[in-house]
Symmetry: C2
Subunit: 402 residues, 2 copies
């Protein structure tokens, strides 16, 4: 069963819920959860004033959320404030948790994040997955998931859902990996291979990386383009706080934007795609280095040492990124471009030429470029948080299941 | 005063209305209007079953819409149907109308569209506007608007709003033309120059062209890229039935996507932009022709006669369009690309190379390309219909004003 948790209620407050009295109650439960999550601890009166409902209406909603274990009552607020002391409310650190998992080219990772957004359990398994069949890889991932779920259980947490990040094209709302060329997977139904114990969503790692930036980044705008680069280059297009998925779920394929239209052929069928200039393999090749395991570490080390071939390769990659991003910025008019993924570790050597290219192709002020503070951790965090957001967006649904 | 009519309720059924009993009533009024508009004439019972409310609730809503003149009662349905005969409801052909206006490089146009979507009055004034100051152009446009409003008034229609299409970058929600290079306008506050009698919205012509395709096209999907090309090349990015506007309102600048990164310089500050290869002027230049008034007519005539220079210029323009669209399709994953605007009249000579380029750069099936049936009429129709959609999306607001 595949339930795209963060898809149904993409902007919080459960806008997709039906427009009935019952739907209104569920949306108001979501408003209370989101308000306490964003600004808590808060008294009932403070919640009421923030969401524009009466104190009595909020109390009924809060009581239900406390009863189902999603909110905690912290006891009376300390004296000295104006008015009667109210009991402060906080999001619970027990109960439902989001399980995030990542299938990387060189590793598997799983984590459990509680409703407060804290990573409570985390497990990683290094090892090359390239060219391995999906079944043994997913079996290892499942073992890692069960280990994390068991450890989370000891802390009073239970999985509200499982979200899996994969470096490839994922069919929208279906959990099928249509194509993950850097793993060698094609038409793989992950929903059938993963445990069916919890609501499952599968998404492209660049999408989850962009969502992590949206939800957890400090000062991240609601319209931005998040570039996730390692061996492949993907992007997440976030518009008004929502991920743009595209018709088939394949949006954000920045790596296959033509940069030099008659450049080298690409596996996508095109020529001169961005990935041919700025993907990890392309950069290693341009620098005359071998493809190993810690590719970014190798490049960063050599660049820091002043290796001119590596620096030139990174400069050229930055130029190619700048040309492709000029097109993307003209099409999407984002407020910012955020460089994430493994390649963000190479930002000091990529950014100067990238920004110069954007600036020289823009009449007015160029779109600002920043570097994600999550780097390669983004997809895993985004996956786990997508489950947590699903709970905040429709707490009633989780209470029914829990 | 600028009120972006089609912005507040972009997907119909007034999702932006407040979540209160009063908001629910307004949303349900919108549901009734949209249902009768899309499927009418319909009986009250048919409306009730389609929107999932009780017959009694729908009757109250319908009575209000009849009282305010937005719905008409056509009298008892003809016998022979099962059950009690109900009176069929239809959207009114009187009352509020959408006034659309267009500032073209070579013409001004205004039309009035009733709530049923019919163009009831239309006026056009030919004449070059390039290089003229905004004030005399807007004065002429205003005279044309007043003429259309007067003629519409004789048919029992009154303006629910005015929407103006301009070939340039328009500041989001502000009515200011930041830059319209092909008119020579920069930083022009159209809101201050146009009559303040009605709610006003100003938008880029490519955006209105895309909205016309979304609302009026037959079988148009809800995710598509609409290319509007004449002297400039713009696009409307429609995602899940909504126009993607971008942070500043500048999204869709397909004309400034780099195609050959070291190609000729462009007014935007870039080099080798699509407009340098596929804009009307670029094509005329490549074909060795002068820039006149009926540019597309001239090119189409020569191409039809077999002029090899013109055909080659159009083929090369199609190739450049195909390269830029490959990037756009990779970023946005639309269900279709629709070629609109004046350039759609050149489709027979552009499409073969355009489609070949898309296909050769795509591993799987390439994104389908179709030609808009509205051609250069799209922006004007989209503008007028944006006002009509605003009425359907929040009929209560119009009833209060009317």
């Amino acid at each position: 069963m595949t339930a795209p948790l963060h898809e149904a209620h993409p902007t919080g407050a459960g806008r997709a819920l039906p427009d009935t009295q019952q739907g209104m109650r569920r949306r108001n439960l979501a408003r209370v959860m989101h308000t306490v999550s964003a600004e808590g601890p808060l008294s009932r009166a403070a919640v009421a004033s923030r969401i524009g409902l009466t104190r009595a209406a909020v109390s009924t909603l809060v009581d239900e959320l406390i009863r189902t274990g999603l909110l905690d009552e912290l006891g009376p607020e300390r004296p000295g404030r104006v008015g009667r002391p109210g009991s402060a409310l906080a999001v619970s650190g027990h109960g439902p948790a989001g399980i995030g998992a990542e299938v990387g080219v060189d590793h598997l990772a799983v984590c459990a994040v509680d409703l407060r957004g804290e990573v409570r359990v985390r497990a990683v398994r290094q090892g090359a997955n390239r060219g391995r069949a999906p079944e043994p890889v997913v079996a290892e991932l499942t073992a890692l998931i069960r280990q994390v779920v068991a450890e989370a259980g000891e802390e009073g947490l239970w999985p509200a859902g499982l979200a899996v990040a994969v470096p490839g094209l994922i069919a929208r709302d279906a959990g099928t990996v249509v194509s993950a060329p850097n793993l060698g997977w094609h038409g793989t139904d992950l929903g059938a291979l993963l445990p069916g114990d919890w609501p499952l969503s599968v998404d492209n790692e660049a999408n989850f990386g962009g969502l992590a930036e949206l939800w957890l980044g400090e000062g991240t705008p609601r319209d931005f383009l998040h570039v996730s680069a390692e061996i492949g280059i993907g992007a997440a297009v976030v518009v008004d706080g929502r991920l743009l998925r595209g018709n088939r779920g394949f949006a954000g394929e920045l790596g296959h934007v033509p940069v030099w239209p008659e450049g080298p052929p690409c596996a996508c069928g095109g020529r001169g795609c961005l990935e041919q200039y700025a993907g990890e393999e392309a950069v290693l090749r341009a620098a005359g280095l071998e493809l190993g395991e810690d590719r970014v570490g190798l490049l960063a080390g050599r660049a820091a040492e002043g290796d001119e071939a590596v620096r030139r390769a990174l400069r050229d990659a930055g130029t190619a990124l700048g040309i492709a991003l000029t097109g993307a910025v003209n099409l999407l008019d984002p407020e910012a471009v955020v460089l994430g993924g493994a390649l963000s570790g190479l930002a000091p050597w990529l950014l100067p030429s990238l920004e110069a290219e954007l600036a020289r192709r823009t009449a007015g002020p160029a779109c600002p470029v920043s570097v994600s503070r999550f780097g390669p951790e983004g997809p895993l965090l985004g996956a786990a948080h997508s489950v947590v957001r699903g709970v905040l967006d429709d707490p009633a649904a989780v209470a029914e299941r829990g």
